[in-house]
């Protein structure tokens, strides 16, 4: 016969409610761990799936993900001839937000070279990959598009030909893959309205400056040109030949005057040390605070439950119950509360994580860590109740 369970059976409604409340708090604790893992996974998703061994970015930048990097597209040819380089492929990465039917689509445009395939989608869950140079796109499922949908971007309509899953940018926005030239066009080519505006502004500026400042007029005319040079990319992805040392190759490329080369491992590290590290501290702080709150709540519940049992506890002491039996009663109830709440947290989390706006990746290690924390919290939380229970005098059973 277990006294703790028998007592809880008498107050099962309140106990269940308490478990549910604490369980939801624990769901948040677990979710924050999952959100952090999601940050890491999101941050590394494109890097890992790119298939690149080296990332070449603008000199002294940590691009293309950690900060803006711009390179002329033809740099790919200079890099491709470096000994040890198997393939060099231009890569474009930027975020857009465009209206689509009645809603707004926010996504990361990734432009890649269809020939090398570096940086392109790897695992499709529906449809096919991009097979023609223009007007096709592969979108992530999170974007809410289906194969066959058409999205108007810039001057053209792009047909969704395939879907990926779990491909998001560093900010958690879903990715849409395009051919390199389509990505350049979407980014740089102005639509007709913009072109008309630009022409008018150029003409006015030119007409106003020409009589007195012909050099300035010339420069303004160039600035307001219909389409500036659009052959700019954010990085060059490099695949090295078998046996080549990526670090040595990165060092070699970095020696070139205007480039910074990093290995995929270094690129991943850059990501984790940047915005992800901040998110880790943030979520870590939330988790600590939530654990403290959970501990206080459990302590309060257990203490209240203990206060309600002082008479029976005194009676048990009077008839000779040892302290370990009394302590067991309080401690077991605390653990029952914590562990039931933990199971609720696992259940609620399992049912809801895929509905969260950002990716929540809860791993087994997170669940086990939380279990250990919950047990420790329950033990700590029961201290106040235990002290009260053990201080009860047996004689209290004699008083009315």
């Amino acid at each position: 016969m277990n006294l703790a369970i028998r007592d809880l059976q008498q107050h099962w409604g309140r106990f269940t409610l308490s478990c549910f409340g604490v369980g939801l708090m624990l769901t948040l604790v677990l979710s924050y761990a999952g959100i952090y893992n999601g940050f890491v996974a999101d941050a590394l998703a494109l890097i890992r799936s790119s298939g690149a061994d080296l990332w070449v970015a603008q000199k002294d930048t940590r691009g293309p993900f950690a900060e803006i990097s711009r390179l002329p597209e033809d740099v790919r040819y200079r890099i491709a001839v470096v000994p040890g380089v198997s393939e060099a492929s231009p890569y474009i990465f930027y975020t857009v937000q465009r209206p689509w039917h009645s809603r707004s689509l926010r996504f990361v445009v990734v432009g890649y070279d269809l020939g090398t395939g570096l940086g392109g989608p790897t695992h499709l869950v529906a449809g096919r990959g991009i097979s023609q140079g223009h007007y096709e796109m592969v979108a992530d499922r999170k974007l809410g598009l289906y194969v066959g949908d058409s999205v108007h971007l810039g001057l053209h309509d792009y047909a969704v030909v395939g879907l990926t899953q779990g491909m998001v940018g560093t900010g958690g926005d879903p990715v849409a893959f395009f051919s390199l030239h389509d990505a350049e066009e979407i980014q740089f080519v102005k639509d007709n309205w913009s072109i008309r505006n630009a022409r008018e502004r150029a003409q006015k500026a030119y007409a106003s400056a020409l009589p007195t400042q012909p050099a300035l007029a010339e420069r303004l005319a160039r600035e307001f040109a219909d389409n500036p040079d659009q052959h700019t990319v954010n990085a060059i992805l490099v695949r090295i030949t078998p046996g080549a040392d990526p670090k040595a190759l990165a060092t070699t490329i970095s020696r070139w005057e205007y480039f910074t080369a990093s290995t995929t491992a270094e690129q991943s590290k850059l990501m984790l040390e940047g915005s992800v590290a901040l998110a880790r501290r943030q979520t870590g702080l939330f988790r600590v605070l939530l654990i403290l709150i959970v501990t206080v709540i459990i302590a309060h519940i257990i203490y209240t439950m203990t206060l309600e049992k002082l008479k029976p506890i005194a009676l048990l002491k009077l008839i000779g119950a040892p302290n370990r039996m009394i302590a067991g009663l309080v401690l077991q109830q605390s653990l029952a509360l914590g562990l039931t709440a933990y199971l609720i947290a696992l259940g609620v989390g399992h049912m809801t994580y895929d509905k969260w706006p950002r990716r929540v990746l809860v791993e087994t290690s997170d669940q086990l860590l939380l279990l250990v924390i919950v047990v420790a919290s329950c033990v700590v939380a029961s201290v106040m109740g235990l002290r009260r229970a053990l201080r009860v005098e047996a004689g209290a059973a004699l008083t009315g």
């Binding site: 016969m1 006294l3 028998r6 008498q10 029976p312 009077l318 119950a321 047996a394 004699l398």
Partner: protein, 240 residues
């Protein structure tokens, strides 16, 4: 042979100007299988006397011995009073004497469990005691679903569970009507005379003093030894 022996027991609560003397050199003796009453008005010190016997209240002076084990002896006390209580004593009170979240049967079982008796043996003992006391049919009910008399019978079953040599009862009939009170007293007589346990019963219920083997009167902390009840409901004058 004396199962309970109390000598020169003094209990003073507080100190200095606020000191209250609850017992003044009290003495009490009870033999094996004897039904003993401690009578006295409220505040006379009878519950303190019972609490000293139960090892709940430590006396200021004097000696308390139960079944040849002295638990208090002029400032010295036995180390593990709780163990002493579970092995030597059974308790019955006026009210609040059952664990509210346990059924009648579990209230008896818990006393056995505390004494290390578990499993089918404990279940058999609990069942037999509850049947003997006429509450076997109500064994799966919680105390709140039992009448006052039934609760008291379950408490008696619990007190008897470990066959203690001494049973201490504090106002066991105060919350019961006359008929149920007499029934409980009859049970006490049966326990004392047939099972051989010494039953010490604190009461100021004049209706129930018939049939006690020995009566002690407590007044202003002084305990006087009285003769057995005359059977007319009035105690005899205390012996000098």
């Amino acid at each position: 042979m004396d199962v309970v022996r109390i000598e020169n027991l003094t209990k003073v609560y507080g100190s200095g100007h606020t000191a209250v003397t609850a017992l003044r050199g009290a003495g009490l003796h009870a033999r094996c299988g004897e039904l003993v009453a401690i009578l006295g008005p409220s505040g006379s010190g009878k519950t303190t006397l019972l609490a000293c016997m139960a090892g709940i209240v430590e006396p200021t002076r004097g000696r308390v011995c139960i079944d040849e084990t002295c638990i208090y002896d002029d400032g010295w006390r036995v180390r593990d009073l709780r163990r002493f209580r579970r092995e030597y004593l059974g308790f019955i009170f006026q009210s609040h004497n059952l664990v509210p979240f346990l059924t009648a049967r579990e209230n008896v079982l818990v006393a056995l469990q505390i004494n290390g008796v578990t499993g089918s043996r404990a279940t058999d003992i609990a069942q037999r005691l509850l049947d003997d006391l006429g509450v076997g049919e109500r064994q799966s009910h919680l105390p709140e679903k039992l009448s006052g008399g039934e609760q008291q019978r379950v408490a008696i079953a619990r007190a008897l569970a470990n066959s203690p040599p001494v049973i201490l009862a504090d106002e066991p009939t105060a919350a019961l009507d006359t008929q149920r009170g007499e029934s409980v007293m009859a049970l006490f007589r049966q326990i004392a005379h047939e099972k051989g346990s010494t039953v010490i019963c604190v009461t100021h219920d004049q209706r129930m003093i018939q049939g006690f083997d020995h009566i002690y009167h407590v007044k202003d902390g002084l305990v006087t030894d009285g003769r057995p009840s005359t059977g007319d409901g009035e105690p005899t004058a205390p012996e000098e």
